[in-house]
Symmetry: C2
DNA sequence: GTTGAAATTAGTACGAA
DNA sequence: TTCGTACTAATTTCAAC
């Protein structure tokens, strides 16, 4: 379920004005900041925390929802408590021209929480939550392996989830980041050990793969 | 911020009864199911959808919150709309005995949405959201490279987020999954191309790394 | 975009089954 | 435990400014 908006590399626009949606000003951002920490706050309390009137808060709240800037509200739950304490990442290599099938099969796998198409060595990364390690094995060898679209997989386990923010906002950077310019100053690039850093681009023909998804 | 519960590989318990918390029955699960799709639903409406009384819904709702099964409520937002349309995964190799420093530095990076410690070739995977591809480059070469704890990185871009469920619940499997047993039947393992599947274990000495985090 | 007052709904506290 | 009801407090809506 829940197809989400596409992020195209290189398609980044300027903050606050993207697409044909409404313009997000500082007040909108502040509203989002509050809602990400407490999604169940009343609009009245929200108005007070943001520093605007009730009516204004209702208007903006509804606008953010209607525009799609807020996609939905959800509860964050403790997976260990619900019996799904094992999390794994499965990197999948997908056969060309079979993306549609791959996506269809994904929708039929409830244990998959997240799937993203990536550049690099593999084509997609999926995150699964299951009750035990055996279930990961079953998932990979029984379910994924039986999908013709899946050429190969590579599985790693998640030992610990160190950080999980509800989501990131542009305004987060205003806190302690030194307001870095879009492009780093040329002289700043010299003093880092670039040899240790690898940017992994898309494999050959990857660009064409997105079309038949 | 927001340290979350640790998921230990091999530490999976039986569903519905983990740790010393409250016992989660079918009604609790149904409540979570509703709340994950609509985190702002009123308790009155929640009671109706689950099929219990209002008073009972309040009791269980509060119990789930107090127990920690529900960690928080949040709004899911459209990152492209807020100007953070570029998402990247950075796989990090961390120097032994320097995990504490790595985690401290992570907390000071607002663009990091998620960080997990993994088995396999790398030690950690972090997901960042920024406004443009140049910001990823700045992030990796300027910020991450300057952390002594970081030995090496590998970066891939996310081209498309195909699937993003609020979270997975054990009951999700009751829908269309053929109620698979914990461990796959021996004969079922023979007809899959195991040669294409790779399970990547932890690098040498990885187990010791968790202690000094 | 703001304030204030009416209508509605949410949250709490009971006793009964 | 769970349900049903009554009570109190808060929120949402809608009006005028």
């Amino acid at each position: 379920m829940s197809e989400i908006s596409r992020n195209g590399v290189g398609g980044g626009g300027q903050p606050g004005r993207i697409g044909i949606g409404l313009e997000l000003d500082d007040v909108h951002m502040k509203i989002l900041e509050v809602l990400r920490e407490n999604g169940r706050i009343s609009v009245a309390a929200l108005a007070e925390r943001v520093g605007i009137s009730r009516a204004n808060a209702y208007t903006r709240f509804e606008a953010l929802r209607a525009d799609g800037a807020i996609k939905r509200f959800t509860a964050e739950i403790d997976h260990v408590r619900t019996g799904l304490g094992i999390t794994a990442l499965i990197f999948v290599t997908v056969r060309q021209q079979m993306w549609k099938q791959f996506r269809a099969e994904l929708a039929r796998m409830p244990e998959v929480e997240y799937c993203a198409i990536t550049t690099g060595q593999h084509d997609a990364m999926i995150q699964v939550r299951v009750s035990d390690v055996a279930a990961v094995h079953t998932m990979v060898t029984d379910r994924l392996a039986n999908i013709p679209a899946v050429k190969a997989t590579e599985t790693v386990f998640i030992l610990d989830e160190v950080l999980k923010r509800p989501y990131v906002l542009p305004s987060d950077g205003d806190r302690d980041r030194p307001r870095s310019p879009r492009r780093p100053a040329p002289e700043a690039q010299g003093d880092v050990p670039l040899g240790m850093m690898r940017f992994v681009g898309a494999a050959e023909g990857r660009a064409a793969l997105r079309k038949d998804g």
